[in-house]
């Protein structure tokens, strides 16, 4: 995510991240891995549930797509650190406008899944174009 920060902020979005764990884990993540992102901790999973995120099944967590994504991440220099929270939980990404309306939603299909950031930016552009012509 951090490598896409410039594109995302250029599109007029601020970036925030919620992770499973304690505030100290959020502080470490923001401090070292994602310094430009506002981080929050949610050990109880309340926020995940509110946004419709759920735990993955065996295929979603250990299927071939997950290993392929892991290999790509390692090739980019990423190394897995300690897993905090619930290792079975799947993530997601949402773009929300100032009125609180969801303009983009992505639910991870498996543990190695991430949104296509070009798709995120297209969704933001489409939303802004529609707003400007309304």
């Amino acid at each position: 995510m951090e490598q896409h920060t410039e594109q995302i902020t250029s599109a007029g979005l601020r970036i925030a991240a919620v992770g499973l764990g304690e505030p100290k884990h959020a502080q470490r993540y923001c401090g070292s891995l994602a310094p430009s992102i506002a981080c929050y901790a949610n050990k109880t999973k309340e926020a995940y549930k509110a946004f419709g995120l759920d735990r993955g099944n065996l295929l979603q967590l250990m299927g071939p797509q997950v290993f392929a994504a892991g290999a790509r991440a390692i090739a980019r220099g990423y190394t897995q650190r300690e897993i905090t929270g619930d290792a079975l939980m799947l993530g997601g990404v949402f773009v929300i406008d100032q009125e609180g309306i969801i303009r983009y939603a992505h639910y991870d299909a498996h543990a190695g899944d991430h949104p296509d950031f070009a798709e995120v930016l297209r969704a933001v552009k489409d939303w802004k174009d529609a707003r400007n012509t309304a």
Binding site: L13, A41, N42, I83, A87, G100, V124
Partner: protein, 44 residues
């Protein structure tokens, strides 16, 4: 199965903790402008 949200829905709110351990309402994030909210599988 929890409810999945789609484009055009109003985003739900929830309370999380900031890096200092203080409660924080997620809705505060978008009150000042659009935000990309990422739910991570884990920190690390």
């Amino acid at each position: 199965m929890t409810k999945r949200w789609k484009v055009g829905d109003r985003a739900p709110n929830a309370t999380v903790l900031d890096i200092h351990g203080q409660p924080f309402e997620l809705a505060q994030l978008w009150q000042t402008g659009p935000v990309m909210l990422n739910f991570l599988r884990h920190f690390g």
